[in-house]
Symmetry: C2
Subunit: 514 residues, 2 copies
């Protein structure tokens, strides 16, 4: 059937099951259950330390068809997913559901495991362009990948929709009883927020560390009450790989102009004020907006409340400068953030559930004033795609995109209108990640488009000097310059199911033709 956004989504998807259709960003709240969990009581005196990942796989009873989970704070430096999955393959186990919060280029060794049927399903909420994403797009995975948001993943775990049999937690610092943290050790990667739900809800929990500390390890992010086994290995990852992608302010003059206009929009809309809160991704233009915000705040003597999300050096500096009371961290994007998380008590961890799960008593995105986001494509109804390229190949997953857009009082997309030879604004995006009802404005080098739902915002921008333009006009302007885009062709096969943060299916990804 066609959902309310006009996306063609079947009621049942082979390898996924029955579909709950997307019915609006805030249509699925109300009372919810968090599922019962199962634990094996510790026997006093029993040791948790095992000699190898293989022993952990055996002891936790991993077998065909199970779901194994991982977190992605080591990002493109992670070595644990490959290590564990290769050991699983070597033990002859197959048909595994890989529930990794993130998958990066470094996970290329998973491709042959997908081809051999060791991995037959993948659930993921952070995806960097690379071989695994391409393999999924090419239909190599037996079941459709489930593409979630940062808040949607813990929601799925906590509701029981994604039951984890065994969680493997890469731990930069851990003691023999399983008290672990991510901020210390040679492979320190920052807070392990995405793994918190896994540790609480998985049937079995294995900490894998390259830094066994004397008991008790301190501080503790995940405690011994949640950990069944500890395995020491030589290396859990390469910290150099943590800083993947750009976390530098753009130097491109066009992008800097976009950033200045976005900042002006935020100001004119009334959000530059005492107690303001802000989140940016790690993109160069978003960071440039953060720098503009900082200047406004310094000039006017404004103290904000918090910065949140993936934390980078720019937010660390703003915290140090007293421009934020605190930071809420789900992952560290750079080494300055990791150091700050280790040292500064006002740089706080939050679980991914506390960050963005709509089905709890109040997630942090709901407290957010301003969210700056990127887009691969945006349509004239302000629906955003950050999942597929215009060729239909999977490039990413929602990450915090649709969580923050739903929660923030002002969600601004900052992007070049023209990328390569393509216009970012389209009549219809290839895939919907984030519904237009949660997106307020789009700032490009060719003008600023405001969602007509935000009449208040349009009024606030009157006389601002900002080049406000209707989004349809912006599309026409872009297409005039790029020519009418060639739409990619798709087969009928569904290779990805895009779950909105509330667990409804907002779209599907079909396999590109040819």
């Amino acid at each position: 059937m066609e959902n309310i956004l006009g996306r063609e989504v079947p009621d049942f998807i082979e390898g996924y099951g029955s579909v709950k259709h997307f019915t609006g960003a805030f249509a699925n709240l109300g009372e919810r259950k968090k599922v019962a969990t199962k634990i094996q009581s510790a026997v006093p005196g029993n040791r948790k330390l095992l000699s190898s990942v293989t022993e952990a796989i055996a002891k936790t009873g991993v077998k065909d068809g199970m779901t194994l989970s991982f977190h992605h704070h080591l990002r493109n430096g992670d070595q644990i997913v490959n290590l564990v999955m290769q050991a699983v393959a070597d033990m002859g186990i197959k048909d595994i559901h890989l529930a990794a919060s993130g998958i990066f280029a470094c996970h290329e060794p998973l491709v042959p495991l997908i081809e051999k049927g060791v991995i037959t399903q993948i659930s993921v909420n952070t995806f960097n362009p690379g071989p695994v994403a391409v393999a999924i797009s090419k239909g190599k995975l037996q079941k459709p990948a489930i593409l979630r948001s940062h808040g949607g993943r813990p929601r799925a775990i906590e509701s029981g929709e994604m039951h984890i049999d065994v969680a493997f937690i890469a731990a930069p610092s851990c003691d023999e009883s399983g008290n672990l943290n991510g901020t210390r050790g040679k492979s320190a990667c920052g807070y392990l927020s995405y793994a918190y739900s896994d540790a609480i809800y998985a049937d079995k929990v294995v900490a894998v560390t390259d830094n066994l500390e004397p008991y008790p390890n301190c501080p503790i992010e995940i405690g011994q009450d949640l950990v069944d086994y500890v395995v020491a290995v030589d290396s859990i990852g390469d910290p150099k790989g943590i800083v993947s992608g750009t976390t530098q302010i753009t130097t491109d003059p066009i992008n800097l102009r976009i950033a200045k206009q976005a900042a002006k929009l935020i100001d004119k809309a009334g959000y530059v004020k005492e107690g303001m809160s802000l989140q940016t991704g790690a993109g160069g233009t978003s960071l440039a907006v953060a720098a503009e915000m900082r200047d406004y705040m310094l000039q006017r003597g404004i103290k904000g409340s918090f910065g949140s999300g993936g934390i980078h050096a720019y937010f660390v500096d703003m915290l140090k400068a007293g421009l934020f009371r605190a930071l809420f961290d789900v992952q560290c994007f750079d080494l300055a953030a990791i150091a700050s998380a280790a040292e500064n008590p006002r740089h706080m961890a939050m679980s991914a559930s506390m960050y963005g799960n709509p089905h709890n008593r109040g997630c942090v995105v709901n407290n957010l004033d301003v969210m700056l986001l990127g887009a691969t494509e945006i349509d004239t109804a302000f629906n955003v795609n950050v999942i597929t390229g215009s060729d239909g190949i999977i490039l990413g997953a929602s990450g915090g995109h649709n969580d923050c857009a739903a929660g923030a009082k002002l969600t601004v997309i900052v992007t070049n209108l023209l990328k390569g030879r393509l216009c970012v604004v389209k009549d219809s995006v290839t895939t919907v990640t984030t519904p237009g009802e949660t997106v307020d404005a789009l700032v490009t080098e060719w003008g600023v488009a405001v969602n007509p739902r935000r009449a208040d915002l349009l009024r606030a921008l009157e006389g601002s000097g900002l080049p406000v333009i209707d989004i349809c006009e912006l599309r026409k302007k872009g297409e005039k310059l790029t020519g009418t885009p060639k739409e990619p062709a798709f087969t009928d096969r569904i290779v990805g199911v895009v779950e909105y943060r509330d667990g409804t299916v907002i779209d599907v990804v079909r396999q590109p033709a040819g």
Copy 2:
């Protein structure tokens, strides 16, 4: 029936239900479920701040027969239990199960509410002698009180055996979204560890604070994802009342001699060594043993691993002196501990579940080397009573007593043999709190008795010069001095059910006759 300790416990207790009988300290481990929980999803933009406790009672739907929970970190200074329960009474609500982790003398205003049937059941794990305990002993409560341990309470909550309808959390520091902590503010009382399970498992959670901080409050012990409502009141408690009972080293020469002998026993048993861990209560003799341990460690250049439990100035000093790597805190016993919890990252909170719940993947008591405990009575099989006086009146609850005795490698009871005109060692204790199989030694001014199960310990003490004596001889010696004790008489009515930490019933408290 008579249980394995010879205690007469029926299979069914009116107002409690079917009894699972105690079958041994480690007989009930294995796989366990943690129950599903229920939450009301936040609606973005909705405010949590309510104007009064009465409004919170109304909004959370408190009604007859419900279970309301409270934590006791404000100890004898707490004002929230009385405030909320009086408001409940004023609203005409009755038949409430009061699930307070601790009840103190300051809770005397609950007695008329018990008499009126507003409160008909009480579950508690810390009890100071006082009016509520006396009222229960006199049979005023309609249903038997359930007396648990610090680890048994979260076990009961997490297993679903004790379902909490509404948790009221006294919060010394809280923001409007419900991020709260116990270590800051005019009523700072230290970490709120006992309340963690309540916040996770209760259907509704209300934070009551006298210190509303700007968002986001920092640090966060219980996060906004768990809190439904916030109420600001003038005062949650009197910090002077936190330091209730003695937390001073004894100056009594007899007690000091007991402490010296206990320390020597610990040393001869081989526990004074690198990485040692230690827990004491707040009793003057236990603290004197801690001081002896400190001296041994300093003299020998030994660095311990951790001190745990209720934290006091002596442990804070040992942490500062580098004699412990860290402290594990479930409650602060004095103002020095509260200050340390607020400032020192190595002074760590642990949930009561992580502290002592036998049904998780490893509680901290299992890592404990040496535990020093007091006793109201101890029998010749080393079973200990800390619940009832020799007159049968309720004086206390287990607290961490049976949790720590079960977990620690060496559990030492330190007490005067003669208290008032009574001998502490008896043929049979009035009530069993802690089974003798988990108690290793008793140190008194009249000799040191070792549990015959610990043949290794007896051997280690040979030639130590310690006055080792059979516990039966010790009883004879004591009774010779005091005369044969007059046993209290009891009616058949059960006024208290003593749950062992694993949820089995180890004993019952009957109403004293006359």
